[in-house]
């Protein structure tokens, strides 16, 4: 039995509740996404202060992409364009100030090409940063990630790039988006729902989970700190 005294190294975040908050404030649902983007920046700053090295955000799921109204998605993509352009053009952006390496995980081939190009540019610009790591899961689905990994594994085996008897968990992990990162120690979901909604199923097997009722844009530093303190007090057995 191990008491982990100390902050989580990697926190996964399901930032739910943008639309419900907007509706409650009598705004169009997608206005909440604007606030949501700003909250991501808050989290980057708070994590720096708390000493949390890696954040992975469930920004946009495959299901969101398939089922949300086009208008909402376009609104979302426009906000993303603005934010990414700011990273590209503005040296004072928090990403540069905090030296945050940004990665984009998911089926990027399914989102608008110009957005994808911006993301590639941002990944490139920040590739040498190493003080903080922020991974944005976009057009992401955990079950699909596992299926994709299985397919690519099969292809590589056929091509002779890997050997059959070498296929184990360690090799399989190399085919996941999270390759190179430790699993999230803690997953925080805002918005009141008690589900993981296909977020990092393989990587969350031992993650401590905190469900918060507040909607994502309402999250305050104290709420996040409390979740981290909750984690710090827990006894992690890793299944033993």
């Amino acid at each position: 039995m191990v008491f982990i005294k100390g902050v989580p190294e990697h926190v996964g975040i399901i930032p739910d509740g943008n639309r419900r908050l907007a509706r409650r404030l009598l705004q169009k649902p997608w206005k909440g996404h604007e606030w949501g983007f700003q909250k991501v920046k808050n989290l980057i700053e708070w994590s720096k202060e708390l000493g949390i090295k890696v954040l992975t955000f469930y920004t946009l799921s495959l299901e969101n992409l398939e089922r949300r109204p086009k208008r909402e998605l376009n609104y979302l993509f426009n906000i993303a364009r603005k934010e990414l352009d700011d990273i590209i053009e503005n040296g004072e952006n928090i990403v540069h100030r905090n030296r945050v390496k940004l990665s984009f995980w998911g089926r990027l081939d399914l989102i608008p090409e110009d957005l994808r190009e911006r993301m590639e540019r941002v990944s490139d610009i920040t590739k040498n940063y190493s003080r903080q790591y922020v991974n944005l899961a976009i057009a992401y689905g955990g079950r699909q990630e596992i299926l994709d990994a299985s397919r690519r594994l099969a292809t590589d085996l056929k091509k002779g790039k890997i050997q059959e008897d070498k296929i184990d968990e360690s090799l399989f992990r190399k085919y996941l988006w999270t390759n190179g990162f430790k699993d999230p120690d803690l997953i925080v979901r805002t918005g009141g729902d008690k589900r993981l909604s296909n977020f990092l199923p393989f990587q969350s097997v031992y993650s401590e989970i905190v469900f918060l009722d507040k909607f994502w844009p309402e999250l305050e530093k104290e709420d996040f700190s409390r979740a981290v303190r909750d984690f710090e007090g827990r006894e992690r057995r890793f299944g033993r």
Partner: protein, 235 residues
Amino acid sequence: MTDDFVKDDDFIHIALIPDGNRRYAEKLGKPLWYGHYAGAKKIEEFLDWCLEYDQIKTVSVFALSTENLNRNKQELEHLWKIYKENLLRTLSSEKIRKREIKVNVFGTENVWRSDVRQAARDSMKLTAQYSRKVINILLSYGSKFEIVNAAKKIAEKGIKKTKVVESLLDKYLWVSQPVDLIIRTGDQQRLSNFMLYQSAYAEIYFSKTMWPDFTRKEFDKIIKWYFRQQRKFGK
């Protein structure tokens, strides 16, 4: 009300992580195995409660994880004894026959004690004909291993088409049916390598109660809560 009145996609699959046996025993000043025996009894009760809900068709119980195998030999011997006794009981169970309950025992078989393996095989053989209700006992199970093992089999087949891979993965997993509700007792808020692929969209209920103390009242409350949740499926 019989099962015939419940539509096919109204059936739900509950996954159970019955944690807290040992702390229950410690609290009473009893040895660990006392907690496991109390826990086994509670599982039987729990399965009876599930039988009373027409909508609950499948229940998967996390009986033993691959990591649990590192526990001390004495404790493990008690656990094997419990599994064997309970599996043997299914062979002569009136309830299993009447309610047509299929019993599956899945996990890495080669580490099961041999008499447990035999009892499991006998139980599965006897109940293979049934399909009204399904009970999956996961013994020496780990989600990551299950997934990697399935991926390995797919790789060996050389398949690349997505649709085929998806249905093959389902075939190679021990349990392919998606989980609708996970209940974990024992005041821990994590899923401990249990059915993560199948539970991607499940509602998760963490109970502070130690497993042997779990009550019907709390269970009914959880089921009510489950049905109140909006089932959004990631939308």
